[in-house]
């Protein structure tokens, strides 16, 4: 299983930083992450199932898209984007 690493508010909501999650793509993995951690529902994906605009997902350090493939040993980081002003 891939390991999803959360930080900050998301880590606090989920109760821990690292979560082993099954999923063939980033989208599938995030949906499963929310299913297995109901407190996260709506925080990463909006009601349409779209990754929120200022959330970045990295797979093994590379910025990923919803359809990016995820392998069993991959490390996924979910981070707030650069924002502000």
């Amino acid at each position: 299983m891939a390991i999803v690493r959360l930080r900050g508010q998301l880590e606090k909501l989920a109760g821990s930083a690292e979560h082993p999650i099954e999923g063939a793509t980033v989208s599938e993995l995030l949906e499963e992450l929310e299913r297995s951690n109901p407190a996260l529902e709506g925080w990463i994906l909006d009601e349409r199932g779209v990754i929120r605009r200022h959330i970045n997902v990295f797979v093994n350090g590379e910025q990923a898209e919803p359809d990016t493939a995820v392998g069993a040993d991959d490390r996924i980081e979910i981070l707030p984007a650069i924002s502000g002003g």
Binding site: E47, R48, R52
Partner: protein, 360 residues
């Protein structure tokens, strides 16, 4: 001592003070995040804040007794999953008179209700699935349920104002809705569409506590009064320097009273660089300026729709309004004189007076 909850583009500011002098900062919360609205439910004392995180989306948060303490996210403040829309913002949170129900209105034209003190919320499906919804229109602020008026003593009766979908009324607790737009004229619509279109840009609504069938409305070009619970409306803008504005506040003791803050149609700023609150005490027949203590030269303020509130009633009515330039002005004598309660806050998105014991 008066407590003000000021939602800003950079967090919630809780101010405390005695009218007449600048208020002290009691605490901050949600630092750096847009706080669209904050209120304190008077019966329980619970604080609520609507926060639109740039990262995690819109959410309602609550905390008991101490706004400097830990805030909890409320559950259920979302649109149905799998649809083609996402919740964008919560504009207002309001309690019924007995606090048995809480309502929250937001964008895109949605109303939520809570019956457990605001911990969980449910979407009002009848309004969400209303067959006229395809004719509703967004204004520059979105498609917003921004004014929610419970009926004193009857939590099943409710009026809501939507930009831009007019006034909606329910008498069965939100199971069915009808619109109450009779008499409203929109100068942005062609003559043939007047009285037919429901794309009506209500800016603010208020209900008279002592005569609940009386409502006042600040419209997108027009100030109106209804004496039949929001079914039909009479234009009462004659005598105001501009019929454009956003919020409207009433004196709860006087159903003939209303306060508005006129701004220009062209740029939505206080006219001629003068800040004036205008009041009527005869249900809109005549209006007079309340400007003693307010800036009267080179003061071009933008006062948004949730940035004006009152507490108490009668001659001691307290009034407070905030501007996007970060100032808060207050009055402790029903508008007769004004003072600066805060001068250097971030852009103000909402102002609410926090009162306990059932009074606002």
């Amino acid at each position: 001592m008066t407590e003000l909850l000021v939602g800003t583009r950079k967090g919630l500011f809780v101010l405390e003070g005695d009218p007449g002098a600048e208020f002290a900062l009691k605490t901050r919360a949600f630092e750096g995040e847009p706080v669209e609205y904050a209120m304190r439910e008077p019966q329980s004392g619970r604080y609520f804040a609507s926060v639109t995180s740039p990262f995690y989306g819109p959410r309602i948060w609550f905390t008991d007794d101490d706004p400097a303490g830990e805030w909890q996210p409320a559950a259920g403040v979302a649109l149905p999953k799998g649809g083609d829309q996402a919740l964008k913002r919560i504009w207002e949170i309001v309690a019924s008179e007995d606090a048995s129900r809480l309502y929250a209105g937001g964008d895109p034209g949605v109303l939520f209700e809570s019956r457990d003190g605001g911990e969980t919320w449910e979407l009002n499906r009848a309004l969400w699935e209303h067959p006229t919804r395809p004719a509703w229109r967004s204004d520059s602020g979105g498609l917003s349920v921004h004014s929610i008026l419970p009926w004193p003593g009857d939590p099943d009766r409710l009026a809501v104002g939507i930009s831009a979908a007019g006034v909606w009324l329910t008498e069965d607790g939100g199971k069915t809705w009808r619109h109450g737009n009779g008499g409203i004229l929109a100068d942005y619509l062609p003559e043939q569409a007047q009285g037919k279109s429901i794309a009506l840009c209500v800016h603010g609504l208020a209900r008279a506590r002592e005569r609940p069938e009386r409502l006042f409305m600040q419209f997108h070009g027009g100030v109106y009064r209804s004496d039949d619970a929001g079914q039909t409306w009479t234009d009462i803008a004659a005598g105001l320097p501009s019929d454009f504005g956003f919020p409207v506040v009433l004196d709860p003791a006087d159903p003939d009273s209303a306060y508005v803050i006129p701004v220009t149609t062209s740029d939505r700023l206080t006219p001629d660089g003068r800040v004036e609150v205008w009041q009527t005490r005869d249900a809109g027949t005549t209006w007079s300026a309340c400007d003693d203590g307010l800036p009267q030269q080179d003061a071009y303020l933008s006062i948004l729709r949730k940035c004006f509130d009152g507490a108490g009633e009668g001659p001691g009515l307290e009034l407070y309004f905030g501007a996007t330039s970060g100032e808060i002005f207050g009055s402790a004598d029903a508008g007769a004189s004004w003072f600066a309660a805060a001068k250097r806050l971030p852009s103000v998105q909402s102002v609410r007076v926090a009162r306990l014991g059932g009074s606002r």
